[in-house]
């Protein structure tokens, strides 16, 4: 029973991070109909930038909390510039090209970013400094620490904030209008290029925060961390129904749970043949299952409605 509760807690915390990243995929897909496969690398750059800023600030004797806040801002700003640049360089010139073309440039951008990160930050794992108190709490036999609590609550708050932006503001209305009909949106006076840029920047800001959360949670950051994380978050977005914001959140949390429960019980299920090191496999089982049985995802619409 404690194991179950523990796995649920771990799954929800990890899932809330997936959800933040999945939102970036799904927002871009909703508006442009393309998968920004470089998004995972934006998460990585966010983590690396935050870590560098943090290390520098702590080295200068800045107290932990202000240092952390400032590092978050540095990472967000850096990632927003990066997201903007990726769209301008890799996607906008191909707006009217075949669907395959931006997919290929996305992979190209990923490789470039990974290699740049490797050149800047090296191949080694960077450990995340211990900043805020990391007391553990006993929660019905399961253990949860302060960082996990902060991650989960912050992620939920950010998602709620995003929903408010998308559904209650003029900008959000314009984003939904562009997602639905670009020509009609232009006829309303919407500068669609601007809205698309802002969408990329918003998604990238979420990615920066997610990157920081992952590295704080695991205590590590690495130039290659964006790849698997990106794929999993993409899976979460597909699971929820790509293009659907609520779907991305639901998909993220569910994927976190599936992974965590799967890892917790796979040993029992296979009689010890497979261990929790097979955790990563679950995400891709989910991806394949969704694509086979429900390609539109849990909350997605059928593609025909998008025409």
């Amino acid at each position: 029973m404690e194991i179950l509760l523990q796995q649920i807690i771990n799954g929800l915390v990890q899932g809330s991070v997936y959800a933040l990243v999945a939102l970036g995929y799904t927002m871009v897909y909703g508006i442009l109909g393309l998968i920004n496969f470089a998004h995972g690398e934006v998460v990585m750059v966010g983590a690396m930038l935050a870590l560098s800023a943090l290390t520098a600030l702590l080295g200068m004797g800045v107290p932990p909390v202000p240092a952390l806040l400032f590092s978050v801002m540095v990472a967000m700003a850096g990632c927003m510039v990066l997201g903007y640049g990726i769209e301008r360089i890799a996607y906008r010139p191909l707006r009217h090209a075949s669907r395959l073309a931006p997919l290929i440039t996305a992979i190209g951008v990923s490789i470039v970013l990974q290699n740049l990160a490797m050149m800047i930050w090296g191949r080694e794992y960077h450990s995340f400094p211990q900043l805020i108190s990391n007391d553990t709490h006993n929660f019905g036999g399961a253990i949860i620490n302060d960082i996990q609590i902060v991650i989960f609550i912050l992620a939920l708050a950010i998602m709620a904030g995003l929903m408010v932006v998308v559904h209650r503001t003029r900008l959000g209305c314009a984003m939904r209008a562009v997602a639905e009909n670009q020509h009609a949106a232009q006829l309303m006076g919407v500068d669609i290029n601007r809205v698309i840029s802002i969408t990329f920047m918003l998604g990238s800001a979420l990615a920066a925060i997610a990157g920081l959360m992952v590295s704080a949670n695991y205590g590590l950051a690495h130039y290659y961390m964006g790849f698997l994380l990106g794929l999993k978050a993409f899976t979460a977005a597909v699971l929820g129904g790509i293009g659907n914001l609520r779907g991305a959140m639901l998909g993220g949390l569910l994927l976190g749970l599936i992974e965590s429960l799967g890892a917790g019980y796979i040993g029992d299920l296979t009689g010890g043949f497979m261990g929790s090191n097979y955790q990563d496999v679950f995400a891709f089982f989910v991806l394949i299952a969704v694509l086979v049985f429900r390609p539109s995802g849990l909350l997605g619409e059928r593609l025909a409605e998008r025409a």
């Binding site: 939904r176 020509h183 009609a184 949106a185 500068d191």
Partner: protein
């Protein structure tokens, strides 16, 4: 192709709000508009009629900035629209209600109307304009919280028109507002168009229903495979043999 004029329209030489000269547009590899001239005076209701595929929609889209022109000039309010993007033209006062209406199905009626005012910043005026639209289209007031995609075709046409009016246009372009609507609804829409025109707005109306359009308009142009073949006062076009035979089915 004979380029005839039913009546020499020479009296009107006030500065036109819209003036199009030798406009050519290529669309999907085809020369869809082959050098047309047209103008609209302030406050005028002008009909552009012609059969399917004549290039009417292409013309409107080009005027709105959604399609690039291959040659020719468009002057609006004395200024060239060269290199002015679609969204910028909206704040200059050009509005297009596109063919098929283009309402945002997943936005509410109210959000659709708010999108119409996207190019404006005068919050108080926007609020009073919204109230006016709900007066003009009481049906929309009843359905303001509903997703626009759930409305009937006629109601969606109302949303599309109200939304375009929310930008406070000086030139309103309507592409086939009667398409797919029941006769009663068509009447209603045309009543509204006449009302709006009576308030002094310049309107360019594209219609396949030539009789309806010419009855509402002051002047008309007839377009055939990319060229304007006839133009003149609406009443005279209605009475002309060529128009009667080709578009009025008599």
């Amino acid at each position: 192709m004979s380029r005839g004029t039913v009546s020499p329209v020479g009296a009107r030489r006030a500065v036109p709000l819209l003036e199009v000269r030798s406009l050519q547009v290529a669309y999907g590899g085809i020369q869809a508009v082959k050098g047309i001239d047209l103008h609209i005076a302030p406050g005028e209701l002008v009909a552009l009629i012609g059969s399917n595929g004549a290039g009417k929609t292409t013309t409107l889209k080009t005027l709105a900035g959604l399609l690039p022109l291959s040659s020719g000039q468009i002057h609006y309010d004395g200024k060239s629209l060269h290199n002015i993007e679609a969204h910028q033209r909206v704040s200059m006062g050009i509005a297009l209600v596109p063919e098929g209406r283009g309402v945002f199905a997943r936005l509410t009626v109210h959000e659709n109307l708010q999108m119409g005012a996207y190019s404006r910043n005068d919050q108080h005026e926007i609020a009073s304009d919204l109230a006016r639209m709900y007066e003009l289209f009481p049906r929309l007031a009843e359905r303001r919280g509903q997703l626009a995609g759930t409305l009937s075709g006629g109601e969606q046409q109302m949303v599309a028109m109200a939304r375009a009016l929310m930008s406070r246009p000086r030139l309103l372009m309507l592409d086939e507002p009667s398409m797919g609507l029941a006769p009663l609804m068509v009447q209603k829409i045309f009543e509204t168009i006449r009302d709006i025109a009576a308030q002094g707005m310049s309107i360019l109306l594209v219609e396949q229903n030539a009789r309806l359009a010419l009855q509402a308009a002051q002047r008309g142009y007839v377009m055939e495979s990319g060229s304007i073949t006839l133009s003149g006062a609406a009443g005279e076009l209605l009475g002309s043999d060529a128009v009667q035979r080709a578009y009025l089915g008599s």
